[in-house]
Symmetry: C2
Subunit: 263 residues, 2 copies
């Protein structure tokens, strides 16, 4: 009598990437990734990612210290579609807007572990990927987030702001009037409730956002800019808006910055 063996399903591993995406020179992966994360990543043959080219570059860096299970060209590397990059996995307040990522997880149903990776930091946090995690849960796959750098949390820890009640609200509008309105709204929430407010901007708008913050916020509000986290040029500045103005602190438009404000 023959029996058909059903392989147990693979898991979805959330693989953090270093924060030096696009930077030169890049340090060793060991700087920000624990050995267990590196080992787990080095066992994978199946990937879902934002960008296949940067995923191959990351795997090449990994292979310098950890042998990979097969040549890069034999790996299955699937990209998230453009719509998810641009608009995010979720449409605010509308669950029907969630991208269905189940087709990207077929390899797991055949028994293979799959890695989810983004350009920098933790996938699905301030980055695309949560639809893939959602699909994994809907398929009853085990989801395993691996430890690595998360710029938002490094910024919050280093801010001196309230870390027991905080929100990350994504990007700030680029239109000057809307931006100013949004910043005052976040300030009001932070001052009234004590909840620290974190947000990000594409680096080439760092300086413009800083100017808008200094113009829009009250002198006594505390503003934090965490720049180049985990990189050699890392700098975290935390002071009141009044102090920022007195010290004439600036931001360059080339380094990633996490912004935060609070009481």
């Amino acid at each position: 009598m023959s029996t058909t063996k059903h392989p147990s399903p693979g898991r979805l591993l959330l693989v953090p990437a270093p924060l030096d995406f696009g930077c030169e020179p890049q340090g060793p992966l060991q700087h920000t990734l624990p050995e267990a994360t590196l080992q787990a990543a080095a066992n994978l043959r199946h990937w879902v990612c934002e960008n296949a080219k940067t995923t191959r570059a990351l795997l090449k860096r990994l292979s310098a210290t950890h042998p990979l299970p097969c040549p890069l060209q034999e790996m299955q590397i699937q990209e998230l579609p453009r719509q998810v990059h641009k608009k995010g996995d979720h449409v605010t307040g509308d669950r029907s807007g969630l991208f269905d990522a189940k087709p990207l997880l077929q390899a797991a149903l055949l028994g293979h572990d799959i890695g989810l990776v983004s350009e920098a930091g933790m996938p699905a946090v301030a980055d695309p990927g949560s639809s893939v995690v959602r699909a994994a849960h809907d398929l009853s796959l085990t989801v395993v987030p691996l430890v690595g750098p998360v710029s938002l949390l490094l910024a919050l820890a280093g801010s001196g702001l309230n870390g027991q009640d905080f929100a990350f609200v994504g990007y700030i509008p680029t239109d000057a009037t809307e931006r100013s309105k949004r910043l005052r709204e976040l300030e009001q929430r932070a001052l009234q409730t004590g909840q620290s407010q974190l947000f990000i901007e594409t680096p080439y708008r760092n300086s413009a956002l800083l100017q808008a913050l200094l113009q829009s916020l009250k002198p006594s509000t505390r503003l934090v800019c965490a720049s180049g986290l985990t990189l050699p040029q890392q700098s975290i500045r935390s002071a009141t808006v009044q102090q920022w103005k007195q010290r004439s602190w600036q931001l360059d438009n080339a380094t990633p910055v996490v912004f935060a404000l609070g009481a």
Copy 2:
């Protein structure tokens, strides 16, 4: 002519701890801490912490792989006062409530790096310590957050909830009526704005909080419980309230859980 040398001030290093506090057996630190974090921690002689005893236990684990600069009894290990443990560093909406931690940073003014460490995870995030970070900024010390495990972010990444807009709101009231009210308020915020809501509870109330969640929330709301993160028994369950009830999923009252809800 004699000159007095002023040493350059030391830095404040935020040293993450593994998430296996109070667990048996404890795995190697390399599992969740990058080599650069271990090396930086192993150079320190001055510490500010929640609890001196657990800090010494952590340093003893560290010394198994990384030689320390001096015997444990020669290290300066200062505890945060009880009031900060109990009430947090910040009093909501009232800056005058912030604990003044400058006296704990005297060694940095004399040129020594100081490590800030909590019982588990990242200091000053869902844990005491932000007043020490604030004091470091006020003294113009360089603040360096090191990479390590942060349960909140591992939970969020693994949740399948919106990771591009989220809030962590701390603990939930223990009084049944207030708890129910608070949970419905968080649900309403999540559903109306798309902002995922994360919170925690002391482990012995896990089961009670889960029951309150299942009773208070709408059937279609997604509830996530991330239990024992980074530990061998790690489990992340993400499903609608209706599915939670159908599957009769339970939580034990011994393992730390991060709770999250969203659309």
